[in-house]
Subunit: 424 residues, 2 copies
Amino acid sequence: MGRGKGGSLLVRRIGRLLTMDRPEDVEGIRDAAVVVRDGKVVFAGPEADLNRESVRDLPILDAEGGLVVPGLVDCHTHLVFAGSRADEFEARGAGLSYEEITRRGGGIMRTVNATRAASRDELFEGAIPRVWKALALGVTTLETKSGYGLTLESEVRILEVIRDLDRATPVDLVPTFLGAHAFPPEVRDRRVDHVRAIVREWIPEVASRGLARFCDCFCETVAFTRAEAEEVLRAGLDAGLLPKVHADQLSHSGGTRLAAEVGAVSADHLDFADRQDIEALARRGVVGVLLPGCAVSLGQTRFPEGAPLVEAGVKVALSTDFNPGSSMTQNLYLTGTLAMAYMGMTVAQTWAAVTCHAAEAVGLGHRVGRLVPGCDGDLVVFHGDDPRIPFYEFGGSHVARVVKRGVVVVQRSRRGEVSFADGD
Amino acid sequence: MGRGKGGSLLVRRIGRLLTMDRPEDVEGIRDAAVVVRDGKVVFAGPEADLNRESVRDLPILDAEGGLVVPGLVDCHTHLVFAGSRADEFEARGAGLSYEEITRRGGGIMRTVNATRAASRDELFEGAIPRVWKALALGVTTLETKSGYGLTLESEVRILEVIRDLDRATPVDLVPTFLGAHAFPPEVRDRRVDHVRAIVREWIPEVASRGLARFCDCFCETVAFTRAEAEEVLRAGLDAGLLPKVHADQLSHSGGTRLAAEVGAVSADHLDFADRQDIEALARRGVVGVLLPGCAVSLGQTRFPEGAPLVEAGVKVALSTDFNPGSSMTQNLYLTGTLAMAYMGMTVAQTWAAVTCHAAEAVGLGHRVGRLVPGCDGDLVVFHGDDPRIPFYEFGGSHVARVVKRGVVVVQRSRRGEVSFADGD
């Protein structure tokens, strides 16, 4: 929506501005202003440095002394799906394992069956409130994967819905092809043929139609072997889809190392990655994406570790992993709360992880995730100027305004009224 | 606000109604209706059983097939305070212990100092958005404690602010006197005198002015001994303030047993309560209030256990424990998520814990927390009829409408617009 030249806006009276140009800096710039022209940042700095003459024509957004950060990037979600798996959440709480639940007909295939049965309209109608909810939280860029179709036709349908969501809302959706999410039962006896179909038919079709930017693969003992994953990811690369990997989530199965070898944009999960894996990511410049929401959905108290990645020099991103099975949350601030409480991450690292590093995890580090001249005018204004508060005070939202390409798209009062700028 | 005769309303097309008359039942009543007249429930049952002639005069709220539950009761909060302790949250994440932080000038006394320095207006202005946020989540009854003043004058000021918040919003605030929250440094050398002042001066003053309904005490090695706590609680009882106890939170220090002995309305925290303590609660009919948000704020993976309490026959309530030090969250659904994921509680137990059992924990079980004739017409309508969803999908809200005494006070769209009925 509104992908034209973008809006123009002066954001003034910013109490603290985090441009994320230096991600380790959460002191930021006090008494700052941001100027957006035609959707792009043209100034971000102390308000005193602003040439007032140059902005006399602009509408003004008063930040009222609040914190301003770049629009958030949720860099790993699966938000197009049908059906619910609320009963599995309850069953896990009662002591059933994920494996036992899958044996009883739960797990990914349950969502796949519901998603295959849904029409494109039904998928769109189910997903669109989720996109608006993300926007209300300040997420202006949203990676979304296919992977609940697992036939060419249904994978394409999901990717078309992602494209439609991108067109129908102010949020930029970044589409990732995850046809290699699981082997559906009907192909389990012919894995080689199935991988060949993905490589020779699905990927070329998806890529030639421009339906995805990335090719992801679930590399895991219960999903694609390392060799199969490599075949899929290299075929994606050949077709122009940059690799991402679901890596070492449930066991040390080689996905992180593979991500480094193929030069993936990101390696995601990393719960069981070891030190050598992490060093390989650092050397190759692969972003590490950590997804602590899974622990809560799965009732586990083991969280992925952030500190070793940071120490090794890996850029760390955080994401909700929003999906109906293992991480049913859209609250990226809560993800940050878990990172600070349980994963050894500082507030500076946490902000970088949901802005500039997350932008790099979706190949958009040049355009979003920072507020510097030339970048998109995507930003979030908060009530209050303390950068710790959105993570410290958890389970809610401190957003005051959301701006997408220079246009105010969300307004939120201190006591919690929310309205969208399109007014419907 | 609006404490007159209350509104009248027909809520129809309820997909699933949990009256909580039988707390173990989450099947509820399908295709139901609720009728509120003059603020009180006069009918709650199958819509087919409703005499249509009798409701022709009523305004209609269409629940659109959604789940309806009694208005939520958050039965243990400390929401009147000044200052922030966001830096302590960050410091704990970096590895500092709660004790070390207290030694460096953090902890309860930091909030006490900020709260003492704040005017009554400042305390009110700081707290009122929190009350509205709670209401937007469906909390229609909200217990709130003093305890950040720790002088008679400042404790009274907090209780007056609680009374003002009750008058200024649709939420019913239930005031609890927690003068025995900690020994401030200036009295640490004369504990006996301080307890005597609380017993002989503070409690009679608070009670005679009608500023509190309950008298709470933090019974803990770092706070009030069991003997001191007993003295305070019995003085409260003598003055007509029913007892509540912060019990066995940090160590097995006897608070739970004391709660049973004095016949407290509730025993709260219970992290270190043993089996005999729990059996004593059950025998005496004391509600057990569990507060898992603390674990997240404190970065701990040990959660209070729900199942042993339920098995012993204790009525279990859940609450946010909203406070700036150890549980900075207002999201009672997230509390429920933690209960289901980590504390062995079923969805039925979790709903009871935030409605009827929480109402009993604030002595209002006859009036709120259930939707049966004679109770207050406080209810929440959700998007969708699955009672697991508000806990399964965490970190957000599924509320569609909030009704307080028959008046619609909050509206929330599926994609997340929120408005309050007073329109300002």
